[in-house]
C-alpha cells in the first residue's frame, strides 16, 4: 500500500470520526430567527430566552433598563408587599409577563415563570409571537434580525399592561392623543429604556404646576396637570397626590399641616370618588385663613401609597410655596 492510499484511508477514518462526533453532539440548528447565533455565556441557544442575550450587542440599552422599574417589576419589595408576595396571581401577568405579542397588543399579557429577576424585559416587548425579534425597522443583517412591526412601540403595546389601571384610556381622552404624542415621547424620549415615570422626581415635577393666591380672605390653591398625558396621579390606586397648607409662626415653622385636597382613585371597596386630575385639567381648592396669619405655606406631595406620611420614603415633596397674606 503506497503512501497516498494510506493517507486517504486515514483521512476517511478521521473524517468519519469527526463527522460522527458532530452528528452525535447535535449542533443546534437555526430556527430562522437568528437566535441560533446568539450566545449566553458562550453557549449557543435556540430561541430568545433571556434579556441577557441582548446585552452583548446592546450594552447601552441594557444599562438604561437595568435597575429601572420595569426590570425590578417582580422583585420590587413594595410591589411584593402590595401583591401579597404575588399570591394575587393577576399582578404577575404584568409584573412578570410573557411577550406582549403572544396575546396581542392591547390585550392582557400572560404570566411567565422564568427570569424572575428580569421583570418587564427586552423579550416582553421585542419578541414576536413567532419567535422573531420586532423593532421599528427591518434590520435583516443584524444578528437578531429585527423585523419592522407597525404596532411596535405603539400606545397599544403599553396598553397591554398599563391600561389595567386605565392609563392609556386616560391618554386617549387627552389632547396628546389627538396630537399623536405617545407614551414613548415622554417616557422614552429623554430616558431611553429606563422608562422613567412616577419614581422620577423631575418627571413628577414636570407634570403638575401648583399656584397659590390669596383673595377675599381665602387661600386659593390650584393644581394644573400641565405635563402628564394622562391623569395625575395615574396607574395604581395606591398613588396619591396631596395639597397641604399651613400658616408659619414668627420663626417660619408650621405647627400643623392641613390637607386641602387629595387626588386619588380609591380602592374598589373604599368609599369616595376618583379625584385624579385629567391631562390639562385644573383643580382649585380654597381654605379659610385664620385671623392674624401673615403668611401661608402650601406643599404638593406625591405618595406611592395613600398611608405614607410626610418624610416617609414613599412620600416625595414636589413643590413648596410661601405667600404673604397681607
Amino acid at each position: 500500500m503506497n503512501g497516498a492510499v494510506r493517507g486517504v484511508g486515514l483521512a476517511v477514518i478521521a473524517g468519519v470520526f469527526v463527522g460522527g462526533w458532530l452528528w452525535v453532539r447535535g449542533e443546534p440548528e437555526t430556527n430562522g430567527t437568528g437566535a441560533a447565533h446568539a450566545a449566553t455565556a458562550g453557549v449557543k441557544v435556540k430561541m430568545w430566552q433571556s434579556s441577557q442575550q441582548c446585552k452583548s450587542c446592546h450594552q447601552k440599552v441594557w444599562d438604561e433598563w437595568y435597575g429601572s422599574h420595569h426590570q425590578i417589576a417582580y422583585t420590587n419589595p413594595e410591589v411584593r408587599r402590595l401583591s401579597e408576595d404575588f399570591r394575587i396571581k393577576d399582578c404577575q401577568a404584568c409584573h412578570l409577563p410573557r411577550q406582549v405579542a403572544l396575546t396581542g397588543f392591547g390585550k392582557r399579557s400572560l404570566p411567565r415563570q422564568t427570569r424572575p429577576n428580569e421583570g418587564v424585559d427586552c423579550i416582553t416587548c421585542h419578541l414576536a409571537a413567532d419567535g422573531t425579534i420586532m423593532g421599528k425597522r427591518d434590520m435583516p443583517k443584524a444578528p437578531c434580525a429585527p423585523k419592522a412591526n407597525a404596532d411596535f412601540a405603539s400606545v397599544n403595546m403599553c396598553a397591554s399592561c398599563h391600561n389595567q389601571h386605565q392609563t392609556t384610556d386616560q391618554w386617549r381622552a387627552s389632547k396628546y392623543a389627538k396630537e399623536g404624542k405617545t407614551c414613548h415621547d415622554c417616557h422614552m424620549g429623554k430616558f431611553g429604556h429606563g422608562f422613567n415615570a412616577a419614581h422620577d422626581t423631575a418627571m413628577l415635577r414636570a407634570a403638575g404646576e401648583l399656584t397659590v393666591e390669596f383673595a377675599a380672605g381665602e387661600l386659593k390653591m390650584t393644581l394644573f396637570n400641565k405635563g402628564a398625558g394622562h391623569n395625575f396621579p395615574t396607574e395604581e390606586r395606591h398613588r396619591a397626590l396631596d395639597i397641604e397648607y399651613g400658616f408659619p409662626d414668627a420663626k417660619g415653622e408650621v405647627a400643623t399641616w392641613q390637607r386641602a385636597y387629595r387626588f386619588r382613585q380609591p380602592y374598589r371597596d373604599e368609599p369616595g370618588e376618583n379625584t385624579q386630575l385629567p391631562a390639562m385639567a385644573k383643580k382649585s381648592v380654597s381654605a379659610k385663613v385664620p385671623e392674624g396669619a401673615e403668611r401661608a405655606k402650601v406643599r404638593l406631595w406625591y405618595r406611592l401609597n395613600p398611608f405614607a406620611k410626610n418624610g416617609d420614603k414613599a412620600s416625595t415633596l414636589l413643590e413648596e410655596k410661601e405667600i404673604s397674606l397681607r
Partner: protein, 443 residues
C-alpha cells in the same frame, strides 16, 4: 468513494498535476480533504435525537376545536336573582340589624323570627355577608349555613377572601361552608380551633366528622379533632366533595353565580378576575364540569384562567386530564397546560411532557420540567438529572428540574441545588423559597 475518484479524475484531466513523489503528496492531501468532507456529511444532516428547532415538538397534540363559550356563561347568569330594592330592602335590612345586633334579647328574638320567616330571607342574609358590622356578617353566615342555603356557597367563598382580619366572621363563614358540604374552609376552621373560638369550632368539627362517619367519640381531645379535620381536608383536596355524603347538584342560582365568575375572568378589571378564580378554585367537584367547558373555549382568557384554577384544585380535577392534554398543542398555553397536567396528576401525559422538554420555548420547557415532581413521574428522573447536570442548561430550567427532582428523589441532587441557589443568591430567592416549601411539603 466514487465522489473522491471523480474529483481526482477531474483534477488529473486538467493536466495540472504531473506524476511523481510531490504530486502524490499533493494528491493525498486533496484526497484527505475530500475524505474529511465526506465523513462530515452526516454532521450536516439532522440528528433526530436533537430535533429541537421545530417551532413545536412533532408529537405535540392537536389543539381542540375552539368554541365560543362566553355567551353560554352569560346565559347562565340570567338565573341570578334580582337584587332587593326599594322600601322593602330598607325594612328587611333594619330587621336583620335588629335581629343580630340589638341589646334587647326579646326584641332580638322577635326580629330574628320575623326575618327567618320572610320570603326574601336568604337574599337579605346574603347581603348581610358584606355588612359593615362583624356581628351581622357572622350571624348572616351562620344562618345561611343553618338554612342549608346552597346557592350562597359562591358568596360565602367570595366573602372568605376578604374576611382576613376578623376572626369571628371567618369562623362562621367556615362553619357555614362545612354545613353546605364545602370543605375548602377547613384550614380556617382549624385556625379557629387555636384561638378564642376553639370551643365553637370544636362543635362544628364534631358535627362534621359525625356526618362523614368519622365520629371522634364522646369526649374527643382537640388534638383528635384537629387530626380528624386534617385527614378530612386531605380527602377533600383529592375528591372535591365530602366523603360518604351524597353530593347535591348545584341549583340554577349557584350555577348563575359561577357563570358570573367566568364572565368576570375575561373582563378588564383584575380584582374581579382574582375573586372569580378564588371562588371557582374552592368550589370543589361541582365546579369541575363547568371548568371542563372552558378548556376548549375560543376565548383565550377563559382557557388560561380555567387552567390556572384546575392547577389550584389539583387532584380534585384529575377527571379532566383528557381535556387538558390537547392544550399541549395550544400555541399560547401549552406551558400552562403542561403545568396543569402535573398538578392534576395526569400520569398518562408523561410522554407528552417529556417531549416538551425539547420545546423551543424555555417557558414551556420549564413548565414541563416542573410538572414531573407533582406528578410523581419517576420515569423522568434521568432526563431531569441530565438537565440539572449540564452547565449550559439555562438556570430557569435547572431550577425547575431541581424542583421536580427534589420531590422525586429526596436524597438526589435537586434539593442541594435549590438550597445552593438560596445560599449563593444567584436566583430569585422568593421563587426558590416557594419551590422549597412545596418540596418539603411533598415529603
Amino acid at each position: 468513494m466514487s465522489f473522491h475518484r471523480c474529483g481526482t479524475g477531474t483534477r488529473e484531466t486538467g493536466g495540472a498535476v504531473s506524476i511523481g513523489r510531490r504530486s502524490t503528496r499533493r494528491r493525498s492531501v486533496l484526497l484527505g480533504i475530500c475524505a474529511v468532507a465526506f465523513g462530515s456529511v452526516p454532521a450536516c444532516t439532522r440528528n433526530p435525537l436533537h430535533a429541537k428547532a421545530a417551532p413545536q415538538p412533532a408529537s405535540a397534540p392537536k389543539p381542540p376545536a375552539y368554541t365560543p363559550r362566553l355567551a353560554e356563561f352569560r346565559k347562565l347568569m340570567e338565573a341570578e336573582p334580582k337584587p332587593l330594592e326599594g322600601p322593602r330592602l330598607g325594612e328587611l335590612r333594619d330587621l336583620m340589624e335588629t335581629a343580630f345586633t340589638s341589646q334587647d334579647q326579646r326584641l332580638r328574638k322577635m326580629a330574628k323570627s320575623s326575618l327567618l320567616e320572610a320570603a326574601e330571607c336568604d337574599a337579605v342574609l346574603e347581603m348581610g355577608l358584606t355588612h359593615e358590622r362583624a356581628e351581622v356578617r357572622s350571624n348572616a353566615a351562620f344562618e345561611l349555613g343553618n338554612r342549608k342555603c346552597r346557592r350562597a356557597v359562591p358568596l360565602l367563598l367570595r366573602r372568605m377572601k376578604d374576611e382576613t382580619s376578623a376572626a369571628e366572621p371567618r369562623f362562621y363563614l367556615a362553619d357555614a361552608l362545612c354545613r353546605l358540604d364545602n370543605l375548602a374552609a377547613l384550614p380556617e376552621l382549624l385556625e379557629a380551633m387555636e384561638g378564642a373560638l376553639a370551643q365553637r369550632a370544636a362543635g362544628t368539627a364534631i358535627t362534621l366528622l359525625d356526618r362523614c362517619g368519622r365520629s371522634p367519640g364522646s369526649a374527643p381531645t382537640y388534638a383528635a379533632l384537629r387530626a380528624g379535620l386534617r385527614l378530612l381536608y386531605r380527602e377533600w383536596c383529592v375528591l372535591g366533595r365530602v366523603p360518604v355524603v351524597e353530593p347535591v347538584p348545584l341549583d340554577a342560582v349557584a350555577r348563575a353565580r359561577l357563570g358570573r365568575c367566568f364572565v368576570d375572568m375575561v373582563g378588564k378589571e383584575l380584582r374581579p378576575v382574582d375573586e372569580a378564580r378564588y371562588v371557582l378554585s374552592r368550589m370543589g367537584a361541582p365546579a369541575v364540569s363547568l371548568l371542563e367547558r372552558v378548556l376548549d373555549a375560543e376565548e383565550l382568557y377563559l382557557r388560561q384562567h380555567g387552567l390556572e384554577i384546575l392547577r389550584r384544585m389539583g387532584l380534585q380535577s384529575s377527571s379532566v386530564a383528557s381535556k387538558v392534554r390537547p392544550l399541549l398543542g395550544d400555541p399560547q398555553l401549552r406551558g400552562e397546560a403542561a403545568a396543569t397536567l402535573g398538578e392534576i396528576g395526569a400520569i398518562d401525559a408523561v410522554p407528552d411532557l417529556l417531549a416538551l422538554l425539547e420545546d423551543p420555548d424555555i417557558e414551556v420547557q420549564c413548565a414541563a420540567a416542573g410538572a414531573f415532581g407533582p406528578l410523581a413521574a419517576h420515569g423522568a428522573v434521568p432526563q431531569l438529572e441530565a438537565l440539572l447536570s449540564r452547565q449550559e442548561t439555562p438556570m430557569d430550567l435547572r431550577v425547575r428540574a431541581a424542583f421536580s427532582l427534589a420531590m422525586l428523589r429526596p436524597h438526589g441532587p435537586g434539593f442541594p441545588f435549590l438550597r445552593a441557589r438560596l445560599q449563593q443568591g444567584d436566583y430569585h430567592a422568593p421563587t426558590v423559597r416557594e419551590l422549597l416549601d412545596r418540596v418539603i411539603e411533598s415529603w
